[in-house]
Assembly symmetry: C2
Homo-oligomer: 319 residues x 2
């Protein structure tokens, strides 16, 4: 069994490559839920949906999120409420786009959670509805919410990421509920033949999982079978705010900075060709370093990257 | 001020005529909320929306409910969850159609209620969003839910009306929450120059209001200024199950049966030409009876009917 710790878009693209080189039925992915949110009364799990839709080939390939052939009639119709909404109300938000077809997923999730189903059960039902073979698990059945501290206020992750377009300075992050929430299944870490930390934001995608009790310790016990793919290439994040967030929170926005964040829980870091000159610096942190093409602009790259990650742990296992 | 006690489609069509013959700013309508429901986590108020959309000329004229030029992408996308839904789950219901644009209204209502707004506040905001001048009020800010007792089970009103297409025998109805809920504003009854009970189902549209403390007593105090329009014409309901429901619950499915239900709270009953031969029987119940054309198949009829209802109370006031 191959365990993949996943955020959203980057992880989804990586998984799409992985299913080309490993049997989908052998893959389990545990997905960040720290950026889950509730809007319009609906329970929304953006990273889980991105992973599910991508693996189902249902994702919109241009946006990288949401369903293809989508329409936006409900969102458009929300506009009429903007002028009647009281000043301090947050109702009818239009900064978080929900496509008409996508809404059905949130309707189903919301209704099932209200019926008492766990998020893992609902996630699995949605996975099956989209005919995805890879097992998709939320990082926890408990509610964990990533809060982003800005200079003058604290906002939810989605407010930071979508509403503010991550174009603001971050002074800290915290994961509400993480101290009492349980990781979905610590035995997965013990039982996996290989564990891959997808090219996701180390702070706000992988960070929420690591905030759960026991997971860092469990990973450190099996560090040799854990491989991470750097989401930072040549000092910048391919997508999202990982680079500036690393700087703002006192880390180095390079593969070396990523290595320092992961070295306790992960034996190998896969970095991009463009960062080959930093490989020895990565190894100085105590991690093995593998250099390959990590920019998943084409499906072929995702596949080769996935194979590289698998091979990296095979080498590891052979040591 | 003219006060109109309203259910859904019939009341909405009547109000559409009334605004042609009386200043919309002088009209207040109190709408049934006993058939409100919650689906997909959304708070849905079907009668309020039908009244609002109709007065806004936004209603679909063929269906009589929902918005015109509507699409159904979210509903269609729910289909994929039918096969993965556990047997005892009610998630992803497709029997209650919600159009994509209509969803925005439910999103707004749900979000505002969650923020602590009252249903009256939200209803008024939605009314203003649709640029309706008539004041629209829910019958109560408290939750009242109409339950329909069938031979072997009890269902919600919407399950009876939409899912079962009101094609089942009713053994009783009750209004959960009605004993503790408050009518929205009893002073409206005292202050209104005229009160019109719209051509709505006496049992499940007007019945939920009458189940609230004080309203029957308040209406009976001003009985002479109250006029009802019979929803029954020639022994049948023009829309919905009022006729068979009257029979099943032991009432006569005629204008005389309607008169017996209203005679304590209402001085005048407006009946259709087709029932002219029953006018004297209606008057035997103690109500005045006015005969006119009540089948609102054309806007002109709604207008004339509204004028007739106003005149009926004027005569009354002049007595």
């Amino acid at each position: 069994m191959i365990l993949v710790l996943a955020g959203g878009v980057g992880a989804a693209r990586f998984l799409k490559g992985l299913v080309q080189v490993a049997p989908p039925a052998d893959i389990v992915t545990v997905v960040n839920t720290g950026d889950d949110t509730e809007l319009h009364g609906l329970s929304i799990s953006p990273d889980i949906d991105t992973v599910t839709y991508t693996l189902a080939d249902a994702i919109d390939p241009t946006r990288g999120w949401g369903l293809r052939d989508e329409t936006w009639r409900a969102m458009e119709a929300l506009a009429r409420f903007e002028d009647v909404r009281p000043k301090h109300s947050h109702a009818a938000p239009r900064w978080f786009n929900l496509g008409d077809q996508d809404l059905a997923t949130h309707f189903y999730r919301t209704a099932r959670l209200r019926e008492g189903a766990t998020l893992a059960e609902v996630t699995d039902e949605i996975r099956r509805a989209f005919e995805v073979t890879v097992q998709i698990l939320p990082m926890s059945n408990d509610v964990v919410r990533t809060h982003v501290h800005l200079e003058k206020e604290t906002v939810t992750f989605q407010e930071y990421f979508v509403k503010l377009k991550h174009n603001v300075a971050v002074t800290g992050v915290d994961f509400e509920g993480a101290t009492t929430a349980s990781f979905i299944d610590l035995s997965l870490i013990e039982n996996a033949a290989r564990i891959i930390i997808a090219p996701s934001n180390p702070i706000v995608s992988i960070g929420p999982m690591r905030a759960l009790a026991g997971i860092d310790n469990a990973l450190s016990q099996v560090r040799d079978k854990v491989v991470a793919i750097s989401p930072i290439v040549a000092g910048t994040a391919l997508k999202g705010p990982a680079d500036r967030m690393l700087v703002e929170l006192g880390h180095e926005p390079t593969v070396v900075g990523v290595a320092r964040l992961y070295k306790e829980i992960c034996g190998t870091l896969v970095i991009d060709q463009q960062d080959a000159h930093l490989a020895s610096d990565v190894e100085k942190t105590g991690m093995r370093c593998v250099v390959t093409d990590t920019i998943m602009s084409r499906p072929g790259v995702s596949m080769a990257l996935a194979q590289c990650a698998l091979d990296a742990v095979d080498i590891q296992g052979g040591k």
